[in-house]
Structure formats: structure tokens, C-alpha cells
Symmetry: C2
């Protein structure tokens, strides 16, 4: 499928007029601003090069990373809202990074975490700053369309063959992305103790890989919901091609419209888009969907303490998204007395997953370039690099939570079912 | 060690004068009160027999359990505060139970959970009803003394040989209590990835079994805190007898007075006595005690939603105790950005553990009778039976939570270290 060249992240640059400040002489006040900026972000060990070649670097170390700033306006903007403007100006090519984008971001994030301005201090209303109100039925559709409907062909270039756009599971750090995604799906199935003939409902099914895997390998029937039109179309096509039409039903609909009762409820990578204001609503959906002896699993990006996402990320990449803390997630479970059986944190698996994605993305640069402009490519590179950095430094988590009804005494006594050899069918 | 006969749970009965109402005729109003009571607790399927033999039972079923009420005052009291008075009147022998105490309590609890009066509705201040303010430095000492300092010889009669008074882990449901307690200790050690030569601090060490096990089997040095004088004395004696004095140091002191830094922080069965008002304080202790690459483990009884303990349990068994929800537990971790790595719910293991305890307790009835009066024995039987019932019906949970600092990238990638064969040393 050929996707028309599009600028899906809707960057305002480079149309904006910065010519007046391009190049030219560096004044004393520019150096002052540069130093002020570096101070504000916690004095990371980096080399800053200004537009005339002037270098600002720590005197006591040789930094492994650096940034080049192409003009005065860019430098001055950084001081006003670094989290937003760094992203936009990097994408527009007015900032270049030396020493690798991931290493650069880890360095900067680590320094920022030590400063009063940017320290991740708990903020009970953090998620409200992420526009969660937008995740109403209509708002959610718009937000999801923004990211997921920019062309399946684009995602095919850098995701695995099954098109999983969520954290993989690497039983061995050297596993391939393909194997790690299959291992993740199998881990989810084992955590849910799926048995042949059971029924499963999936909330937020992406391109439908997990639903197909469950049906094929565990012999269950799956009803899978998603509001991304392009993903659902792709999922249906593949289910048909694989002869799974009778077992898997893909619904182009919101999780709030789930009907029926099931032996298992599963949601992998949707909660990030739900928003804590809607957790109770999602909990009610689970409560009316799960059979008495059913098991549920929620797999989501999370945080250790409630802090808002960067404004650039929210504006350009995932509007309306918010990774909850475990405490915030409990709003899904407490009102219905669901019992949390098992929580596993797969943070480092997500860093590795994103590394695979970035590597494939870069390998396919030429083909991506046929679809999108350089600005989009730089935005995507920044997004994936930022994810690697955030999972690596521990600013983001990946929680897999298994739960049941409180009265379910058929829950597994031990975790021995999790280590069964994968690939049983 | 011979312990003087004592009434440690300080029951007010049977000194209270109920003679006026003992026996005598059952009037119509008594039957009305009985029916009102059964209605109030959700019409459990039970047979009620009043003091003159009058039987009140559901017409449409043959109940498997029943209660005999010895006099009018007891019946009428039940209506005013059933949760408190059932306990006290059962202990005083003014209520007898038929069909097994555990089965009886499960039946009653299940019915109560369905009624508006007793349904477990979330209550954000539930723990305040459990007098957590009492758990100040001096209050905690008094509360702990109440339960744990009633004589080591008593606990020796019904705990395992290592004297563990916390949930065991049954890799096989048929495992003995002794084996299950060793399996639990080994599971804790494996979750903490203990390595020879490391240092561990334990908050709330009971009779010291885990500290000794860690030292003996994993070659670590342990500093273990407890404010129960009798437990500490016992722990020191055993460590000396086992030649572990150089490796294990038992401190008769509060967790708030922990000093030093350690490779691991562990607390098994103490959090129930801390009270949510003090979780932040405990979190601060962990934060100052745990090395950068250390791991921590908290093992605690918990709940699915915040509800207060029964007033009888709080008054007679564990003053100041409160089993937190996972959400409430996060107050330990969020302020310091600790990363939750793993949560395991061992609820059904605790039901089984309590079954073992109750069985041994009953087997040793004669010896317990030499130490305590019948009132105490009945209180203890009710307490252990109530625990079995609560864990079985899902009103109580057992959470084992593993955590690290957010920046610790040496955390285990998978759970393969948990299934290593036990008994390595």
C-alpha cells in the first residue's frame, strides 16, 4: 500500500520565518543565554556549539554528546519552554545532536531530573495536564487517528512481521524482535491461562496480532475492539488470509461499547490512551464483561510517580496520552473489588523493543523518505530515541497486571504456569 | 518456658452479669429480634437455635451450619453491633457454632457482603477507624506487646519449627507447613537475588527465622529489627545456638530507628502494624537504607478496597492493625520514585497456612489450656478461623511486592531466577 506523502505530526516548521536570526554573529548575551539554559537543565555534560562555531563546554570534562544550535531564535526559545521547543527545533533541523540522540537525551534527562525546575515531583493532577478530557468517545477517536492512521505501510517498515506496536518480551536479551513479540503474546496467554474453547475480549487490539495468536495457538474465540480504522482494516484482512475469520471478530468501536461476557479480558497498550478520568468507566466495562471465574490482564506504560508527559510529545506524537502510576491504575480495580494477582514490570524490555524499532526505522530511511518529509522523520527519530532514553533511565515503566474477581478460588496458586515451554497449541 | 496462665486478650466476659437473661422462656419478640438479625446480616443459610431450643431456619433449604444462642441479652446485643458482640459472646460461650467455625464464618461473611449494612464499600478513611494513630513509637510498642508477648511457648505449640508467623508458600498444596515456610523464605531470598557477602536489613523480624535463613543459606549479614521483647530474646537465643551470632544482629528497636545502608530491605508481616499514616515515614526509612543497586521486598496482608477491620479483631486480637490496598501501599514508594518490579498475591497460601495453624492449635488444646483459660482459647480459635474464612472468600489478600530504585538497571530481566531450585547455599 502506497501512502501519500503527509506530515502527520503537523509540525509548524520549517515554514516559520527565522531568517532574521539565521547565522550571523554570536554576541556576549547569546553566550549568557546559552549558559543560563544549560544551568536551567541541570548542567548536563554536553558540548554546545552556536551558529558561528562558538563552543560552550564544561571546563572539567570532555562531554560525549553535544548539540549544535543553528540560530539565535532557536537558542532563545529553548529558554522559554525547552521541552516543547527542543522537539520542534530539532525536527526542523535548527538543532543538531552529536554523539547519538539516545545518549544525548539520557544525558539531558538525567541532569534535568536533578534540577528543581524539571525534577519529577509527584503531581496529583499530572494527567489533567495531558488533556485527558479529550478522550471522550469523539476525542479518543481523533487522538487515535492522529497517531495510528498515518499508514500501515509506514509501520510495516519498522515493526515486526506481526505488527505489534507494544513492548516485547525478551526471554533472552539476544532474541530477535519477531521472537520477542511472540514470547510476549505467549506470556500474556499463559498469564490468562487460556484454554481451548474459551472466549476473550480485547480492548485496543492494534493491528490484531494478539487476537490472531490467541485464536491460532490457544484455540479461543476473540472479539477485539479498536477505533483506528486503518488498523481494523489491516487486522480483518490478515485474519481472513490466515483462515481465522470464524474465531476472531474485529470491531471498529470504542472499549466503552464492549458487549457480552467473556472468560478473559485483555488490553495491551491501550490504557495509555484512556486517561485516568476514564479508568472507572473502563473498570465498569471489565466488570460487566468478565465471567465469575475469568482472568484479566492490563499491559500499559506507566510511571513511578504522577508527572505529565513532555508538551512536545503530547502535541506532536500522542495527544491525550498518559502513563499511569500503579496507584492510579487501582481506580480500574478497587471500585469492583477486583483482586490484583500479579504485576510484572517490563521496563527494560521496552527500552530494548524501542531500540529494535529505531534500528529498523533507520535502516528503512529511504523508504520512509518516500512517504514523509524530513521533518516527520526527525520527529519520529526523536520520539523513538526519547522512549529508549526514558525507559533506560527509569522515567517510564511497563506494567503487566493480572487480576480476577475477589471470589475466584481457581486462580493459579503458583507461577509455574508462566514457565511452561512456549509454543504449545 | 512455662508461661503463667493469663488472659492476654483481656475479654470482659464472663464476669459480666448476664444471669437475669440466662435460659428462660423465648417470647415472640425474641424470635422477631432473631429474624431481624438474620435479615440484617443478609439471610445466611444457617440454623439458629435459641436458649429454650426454639429453632429458626430457612424454610427452603437445609443449612449446613448453625448457631446456638444461650440467652436473651446475647441475642439482643447481636443486633446492636454484631461484629463486636459475636466475637465476645462466642468467646464467653454464650454462642455456640454448629457445622464448623470456618464454614459458619464463610457462610455469614458471604451473606454479609451482599447487604447494604455490611457490604465492603470503599472508605478512604477506613484505616483511621483502625486507630492507626496508636502506632506512634510508644503506641506501636504497646500494640505489638499485646499480641506477640503472650509467651513464646504458646506460639511454639502451633507454629512451625522455625516459628514463622506469616503466610507460607506451598509450591505443592500438599506440602507440610515446615516445608512451606522454608519455601516462602527461599522465595523471598530469590526475589531479593541475595548474594553471598551482601547486607540485609529486616524490619519486623518476628522470632528471627528469615534473618537466620538468609544468613545460613545465602551467606548474607542481616540486621533485624523488632519491638517485641520476647521475640527478640528468642531470636537471639536461636542465632547463638545455631552459631549465627556473627552474621545476624537482632535489634530490639522500632523500624523508624533503622540506621546504615544495605543491599536489601525486607519486611515480612510488619506493614499490617504500621498504619497508612506512617507509610511515608517507612518509605523514608527505606530510602535512606537501600543502596543504589539494592532490592526491597514488602510482604503484607492486604485488601482489594479500603475497609476497616472488624471491631472485635481490633479490640481483642490486633490493636492498631490495618491491611492496606495496593493503592495505599504506593505511599511507601511514590514519594521516592521507587520502581515496583513485581507483585505476587498469595491469598490462598495464607488460607492454607492458617488451616495448618488452627489444626495444630486444636491438637494442642490440652497444653494451651494449661496456659490460658477457655475464653482465650475460644478467642484464638475464632481469630484463626476468621482468617481462614477471610482469605478463602477473598476479603483479605497477601501481597508480596519487590521494588528497586528507578535508576537500577541491574534488576532481573525475567523471572527465571525465581524458579531456581530451592536449597542452594
Amino acid at each position: 500500500m502506497k501512502v501519500p506523502k503527509a506530515n502527520a505530526v503537523a509540525l509548524p516548521f520549517p515554514s516559520r520565518n527565522d531568517k532574521a536570526n539565521t547565522g550571523g554573529r554570536v554576541y556576549g548575551v547569546d553566550v549568557l543565554i546559552a549558559r543560563k539554559f544549560l544551568q536551567a537543565i541541570g548542567e548536563p555534560s554536553l558540548r554546545m556549539v552556536l551558529w558561528d562555531g562558538k563552543e560552550i563546554a564544561p571546563s572539567n570534562s570532555t562531554p560525549a554528546v553535544g548539540m549544535v544550535i543553528r540560530n539565535r531564535a532557536t537558542l532563545w526559545r529553548l529558554l522559554t519552554n525547552p521541552l516543547l521547543h527542543f522537539g520542534d527545533d530539532y525536527c526542523a533541523g535548527r538543532i543538531e545532536v552529536e554523539g547519538g540522540l539516545v545518549a544525548f537525551m539520557e544525558t539531558v534527562y538525567r541532569a534535568m531530573a536533578q534540577t528543581p525546575n524539571f525534577r519529577r515531583t509527584p503531581d496529583p493532577a499530572a494527567y489533567r495536564r495531558n488533556q485527558p478530557k479529550l478522550n471522550s468517545l469523539s476525542g479518543a477517536k481523533k487522538n487515535i487517528h492522529h497517531h495510528y492512521d498515518i499508514g500501515n505501510a509506514f509501520y510495516e517498515l519498522w515493526l515486526d512481521a506481526e505488527m505489534l506496536y507494544t513492548c516485547a518480551y525478551f526471554p533472552d536479551p539476544a532474541a530477535s524482535l519477531e521472537d520477542a513479540q511472540i514470547a510476549k503474546m505467549d506470556l500474556v496467554c499463559r498469564k490468562l491461562r487460556l484454554q481451548k474453547g474459551q472466549t476473550v475480549v480485547e480492548a485496543g487490539c492494534g493491528w490484531g496480532a494478539l487476537a490472531r495468536y490467541m485464536a491460532r495457538r490457544y484455540g479461543v474465540r476473540v472479539k477485539a475492539y479498536n477505533i483506528s480504522r486503518e488498523q481494523i482494516a489491516y487486522a480483518r484482512e490478515r485474519a481472513k488470509a490466515e483462515g481465522l475469520e470464524g474465531q476472531v471478530e474485529y470491531m471498529e468501536d470504542d472499549y466503552r461499547n464492549i458487549t457480552g461476557t467473556y472468560d478473559a479480558f485483555v488490553s495491551v497498550g491501550m490504557l495509555e490512551h484512556v486517561g485516568p478520568d476514564h479508568y472507572r468507566e473502563l473498570g465498569a466495562v471489565i466488570d460487566r464483561s468478565l465471567r465469575e471465574e475469568g482472568l484479566g490482564l492490563i499491559h500499559t506504560i506507566g510511571q513511578n510517580s504522577p508527572t505529565p508527559m513532555s508538551p512536545w510529545f503530547l502535541k506532536r506524537i500522542f495527544p491525550g496520552s498518559y502513563p499511569p502510576t500503579l496507584r492510579e491504575m487501582m481506580a480500574l480495580f478497587e471500585p469492583w473489588e477486583f483482586t490484583v494477582l500479579d504485576v510484572e514490570n517490563l521496563r527494560l524490555h521496552y527500552a530494548k523493543t524501542c531500540e529494535h524499532w529505531l534500528e529498523r526505522f533507520e535502516q528503512n530511511h529511504d523508504r520512509v523518505r518516500e512517504m514523509f518529509d524530513e521533518c516527520f522523520i526527525r520527529a519520529w527519530r526523536l520520539y523513538l530515541s526519547g522512549c529508549i532514553a526514558n525507559f533506560t533511565i527509569g522515567a517510564l515503566q511497563l506494567f503487566q497486571v493480572v487480576f480476577s474477581r475477589p471470589t475466584n478460588n481457581l486462580v493459579p496458586l503458583t507461577r509455574s504456569h508462566l514457565t511452561a515451554p512456549p509454543g504449545k497449541s
